[in-house]
Symmetry: C2
Subunit: 242 residues, 2 copies
Amino acid sequence: MQRYFVDKKCILNTSITLTNSDVYHMNNVMRMHTNDCVIISDNTQAYLAEITYIDNEKCTLFIKSLIEENKELHKKVTIAHGLVRKEKMEELIDYLSELGCTSYQSVIMEKSIVKITKDDFLKKLPRLEKISKEASEQSQRVTMMNVLPLITFNDLINSLNNFDCVCVCDTSNNDLKTINEIYLNDSFKNILFIIGPEAGFSKKELTEIYNHKVIGITLGSRILRTQVAPIYVMSVIGSLDK
Amino acid sequence: MQRYFVDKKCILNTSITLTNSDVYHMNNVMRMHTNDCVIISDNTQAYLAEITYIDNEKCTLFIKSLIEENKELHKKVTIAHGLVRKEKMEELIDYLSELGCTSYQSVIMEKSIVKITKDDFLKKLPRLEKISKEASEQSQRVTMMNVLPLITFNDLINSLNNFDCVCVCDTSNNDLKTINEIYLNDSFKNILFIIGPEAGFSKKELTEIYNHKVIGITLGSRILRTQVAPIYVMSVIGSLDK
């Protein structure tokens, strides 16, 4: 069944009123009518809802029931990723949303080839959020993946305390743990994975990361490119989540 | 170190002679000189080799040593995939090569949206093989992923005996095994995963598949699109391979 994420403000008791671009999609792309049912999620809870009125600008729905089934991962997983170019980022956001990732955080790193300011990134954010919304709807999630505004490497270091486990995907270190060891550890509920840009971390960045007691992890014996690594991490996590 | 796959015919005892497009890459892109070393793989074994002569058309090398390290998976894994459109297939071949996949097999299925004949696909094969070669070099593999010619669903069914385990990625069945259960079973050495096209398998195809005692497997609770599913399978396998 078709699924739409809506702002909590659109829901009043058992009644939902939509006036955004989803209405166009429902009316003109899906050709929905009164009495058709859809799944509506307010980003915390999903509902089965029946259309009571629809035209090109507005759709009202009636909540028939709560949907108990929840396809979210049991832990929060954030990917902090060295800034990659726009096309790769869009594709990644699409894939990571499907794979259940909680948040995607782009980080300006020393060897990032792409150059963009925080402000210019903010202008691109609505498009990235739209990709995340559509992929999250498609994969029947209850919660949309957050696409966070661009930060610097220092901002990232200052945010490490927000997580109860921080890992770095590293190839330079011999004492590496596996994703399994991290994800299956019951004391970790909110995990950050740091992944370098195309050219990798700088020495200074890696030193700084390890100074903060970050855990080095391996992504297996083959070298994965920066756009494949986050997908690998989320796929393995998907297979471990119980 | 830069790595190149070469035809076995180019190697005579300890001497390698290249005259293909890699020579241009070595001479003009990498700007290599006499005495520079590269890794050469003949698709079964990798060698450390030193350049003894190089110009725009020809490069000769001397094999200094065998490279013992082998980053291949310990089992053969083939992905049989409902035909997807060209851009998605190219990207997938790139990702699956990096993730250690043995062979990628496109299959014409009932609900395949893309229409192409076997002959037209054959014309595209050299480009797909080039993508696989470059991704396999990049990820330091010893063996290139095979991109196989397009086959029909019936051809696929007739080939199932070539594998000692055949799985189908299914969402319609309640009695599904996990990738872990399959891959960690020591009696399976040569495994086929069948993944449907965008619109999924037809009922007839699924019946036919299950008639052949194929094992249904789950890819987790979220619905993955057809271009994400093979990457998920190979990522999980990468994390299990020991």
